[in-house]
């Protein structure tokens, strides 16, 4: 430090203290911005907001099937605009009893001349019913790789929780296929060096 005249009535030490404390707030809030990401996911998980379905569910004992009730399940498929696949459900709707395990299939075909890795993002409407839609097997749990021109049937096995609120009679399960970020450039260059 040069011999700067001390402008401060109460000395530079106080300034250091204030600056240090405030820097803690600054760093803390920067970290908080990033912490919002997991907080957001946890929050959506707990509340079932956002239509996000849960990951894989496995039952130790099969839930009781509620034969008195029927729920209609509709299946929807869409592609992110940059995804050059064909993708649709083999069955458009099914009717199930809550607690009953059901298997349906989607079909995907890679229309290009190179391999592409895709990620399917599921979502359930109405969003608040999402936690009651439980998948025991799904192609969305892992990445899907299709070679050039390859066609693949992809199964989904699910159970509707018997706890599903009474007023829900129809659930829509929708998948959107995205190209795995960065994967296309890698596979293309691998194929055509």
């Amino acid at each position: 430090m040069t011999a700067q005249p001390d402008n401060n009535h109460s000395g530079g030490d106080d300034n250091k203290k204030v600056v240090t404390r405030l820097m803690f707030i600054v760093i803390g809030m920067f970290a908080f911005g990033f912490a919002l990401v997991p907080i957001y996911d946890v929050f959506c998980d707990i509340t079932g907001l956002n239509g996000k379905t849960q990951g894989q569910v496995s039952f130790s004992e099969q839930p009781k099937v509620d034969m008195t009730r029927e729920v209609h399940i509709q299946f929807v498929a869409s592609l992110n605009e940059s995804m050059p696949w064909e993708f649709h459900p083999m069955t458009k709707t099914v009717t199930v009893h809550p607690g009953e395990s059901m298997k349906i299939e989607y079909l995907a075909r890679n229309m290009t001349d190179h391999a592409i890795i895709g990620n399917a993002v599921p979502s359930v409407a109405p969003g608040l019913a999402a936690p009651y839609f439980q998948k025991t097997e799904c192609f969305c749990f892992t990445e899907q790789k299709l070679e050039a021109g390859e066609e693949k049937r992809m199964p989904v096995v699910f159970v509707v929780d018997p706890e599903l609120p009474e007023d829900v009679e129809t659930l829509t399960l929708s998948y959107t296929f995205f190209i795995k970020p960065g994967s296309e450039t890698i596979t293309t260059s691998a194929l055509h060096p």
């Binding site: 600056v19 405030l22 820097m23 809030m29 509340t47 995205f178 970020p181």
Partner: protein, 532 residues
């Protein structure tokens, strides 16, 4: 007083000269002046972009610019006005006035002060460079609106988005350093006897604003950092393909964004709270309620952000919570408005230019507050959201609120800064032309908004034509009136007005800053005054 202090005193009053005086300045007044001129320059640049928008919207159909360019205009207009005009002007006023109001010689951290100013020309140089490149046909400038929602700004953003990100980082660092400095000054440099509850309201509002800035600017920095890594380093914070979520962007942005709108109004509340008592020749009504109201507005501003997101598909409980929390803010805001009106009640008022702007502020800001209340009613917002009604709302609170507050403050303190009285006739011309044209500009936007005209669109259907033509006429009138302001400020600063200002300047002025001579000496209080 010891001899040592005398020596320093001599040294102090010797102003550095030439360009070095500004480049290396650590003086709160010089830095304040630079902030204010910077803001003024940005005001005209941002204003020019707004006039491009209004020229295009004068008639339905596409006249002057391509839709892509139109989007760049709305984006840069918003960014420049928010981060380049309102915020630097407030920091400039704080630099000038806070040390003088609390009886300090300078800011607590003068060298950091220099840094926080000089980052700004860099930040805006980068941003404006991207616009110049766009005009020269070298790729688009940022075009996703000042709210830069993902994935518009991540997956689909132009190459210049990375310029934008760097620029926002610099602005953030600048504001954080400025705020730390203001807090340190207020906490450590008050004159003996100046307790917290004796501080002028302007100092109080800035104290609270600085905390808001420190709390939310890092969150903004985090958001743009996530954008940066999403765009360039393969992360997927906001990219659904990689498991991210674009709606989360909106939560993070508005967690910053709503406190930010209060950052842009609280210092103006402070300025108005200085001006109204001066020209009503009465003490401010309800000093402590003013302080508590400011603090509660600041606190509430953290829990209302999702009122910008009512249409994103929140659950009903969330919609209700954010609706009621937002309505609650109207209570402390109302307290302030009533206090200003009560201060004027039975005062012996005179209507010099600062007071005229202050009164217009109270009236027109309140209109903006009311439209805010309309917007926060969730079911109604489904109709109003993303229409011109929102544009009308935030221009009433920001132009006739924040910006009128700044103009009032400039007229109020200019004689103290320069030692010369500004030209009152020109001031009155500036006021009346501004206040009329600004309403011609923004009031019709309420109507087209309620009728369903979307915002950020370069074309519109025929039934909106008349009101849009009106707004465009108002816009050009308002823009050109500001040249009167510029001329008046330059004339005063160069001493070309006939009247010299006294130390007290205004008959009803009270407070430490008015005990200094005009123009205020280079270093404010070298010996601390005693406050009783």
């Amino acid at each position: 007083m010891s001899a040592v202090i005398e020596e320093h005193h001599d040294h102090h009053d010797h102003k550095p000269t030439g360009i070095g005086r500004w480049l290396f300045s650590t003086n709160h007044k010089d830095i304040g002046t630079m902030y204010l001129w910077f803001s003024f320059l940005m005001f005209f640049i941002g204003g020019t972009l707004a006039l491009v928008i209004r020229a295009e919207l004068f008639e339905p159909g596409l006249q002057f610019v391509e839709p892509e360019f139109f989007n760049q205009m709305t984006t840069l207009h918003g960014l420049i006005m928010v981060f380049g005009v309102i915020m630097p002007a407030f920091v400039g006023l704080a630099n000038w006035m806070v040390p003088m109001m609390i009886g300090a010689p300078d800011m607590a951290l003068p060298r950091m002060n220099n840094w926080s100013f000089w980052l700004l020309p860099g930040a805006f140089g980068i941003l404006i460079a991207s616009l110049i490149m766009s005009i020269m046909g070298m790729g688009s400038a940022p075009n996703f609106g000042w709210t830069f929602y993902a994935p518009l700004s991540t997956t689909y953003g132009p190459a210049s988005t990375d310029y934008f990100i760097f620029s926002v980082h610099l602005m953030g660092i600048s504001s954080i350093m400025g705020s730390i400095n203001i807090i340190a000054t207020i906490m450590n440099m008050r004159a003996p006897g100046m307790t917290y509850m004796k501080m002028p309201i302007f100092v109080w509002t800035w104290f609270i604003t600085a905390y808001l800035l420190i709390a939310v600017m890092p969150v903004l920095a985090g958001a743009v950092t996530m954008m940066l890594t999403d765009r360039n380093f393969g992360t997927s914070f906001f990219n659904a393909a990689g498991g991210g979520d674009p709606v989360m962007f909106q939560h993070i942005f508005w967690f910053f964004g709503h406190p930010e709108v209060y950052i842009m109004i609280l210092p103006s509340f402070g300025i108005i709270s200085e001006i109204v008592p001066t020209f009503a020749r009465k003490k401010i009504f309800g000093y402590s309620s003013m302080v508590y109201a400011t603090a509660s507005i600041a606190f509430l501003s953290f829990i209302v952000w999702a009122h910008h997101m009512f249409t994103t598909g929140m659950p009903v409980a969330g919609e209700l919570f954010f609706m009621y929390a937002t309505m609650l803010i109207a209570v402390p805001t109302g307290v302030k408005v009533f206090n200003w009106v009560s201060t004027m009640w039975k005062g012996s008022m005179t209507f010099e230019t600062p007071m005229l702007f202050a009164i217009a502020f109270i009236f027109l800001f309140t209109i903006g507050g009311f439209t805010g209340l309309m917007l926060c009613i969730t079911p109604a917002d489904f109709q109003y959201h993303d229409t011109y009604f929102v544009v009308a709302h935030f221009h009433y609170v920001l132009v006739t609120g924040a910006a009128f507050g700044i103009m009032a403050g400039v007229y109020f303190w200019l004689p103290k800064w320069t030692g010369n009285m500004y030209d009152e006739t020109l001031g009155k011309w500036h006021f009346w032309t501004s206040v009329i044209s600004v309403n011609v500009l923004f009031f019709p936007m309420h109507f087209v908004g309620l009728a369903g005209m979307p915002r950020r669109i370069p074309d519109y259907s025929l039934q909106f034509a008349e009101f849009n033509a009106m707004a465009s006429v108002g816009a050009f009138a308002f823009g050109f009136c500001q040249l009167i302001f510029l001329y008046n400020v330059i004339k005063t600063a160069r001493g070309k007005t006939s009247v010299k200002a006294t130390g007290q300047v205004w008959e009803g002025a009270h407070g430490l800053e008015w005990t200094l001579p005009s123009p205020a000496p280079f270093h404010s209080f070298t010996t601390p005054p005693q406050v009783k």
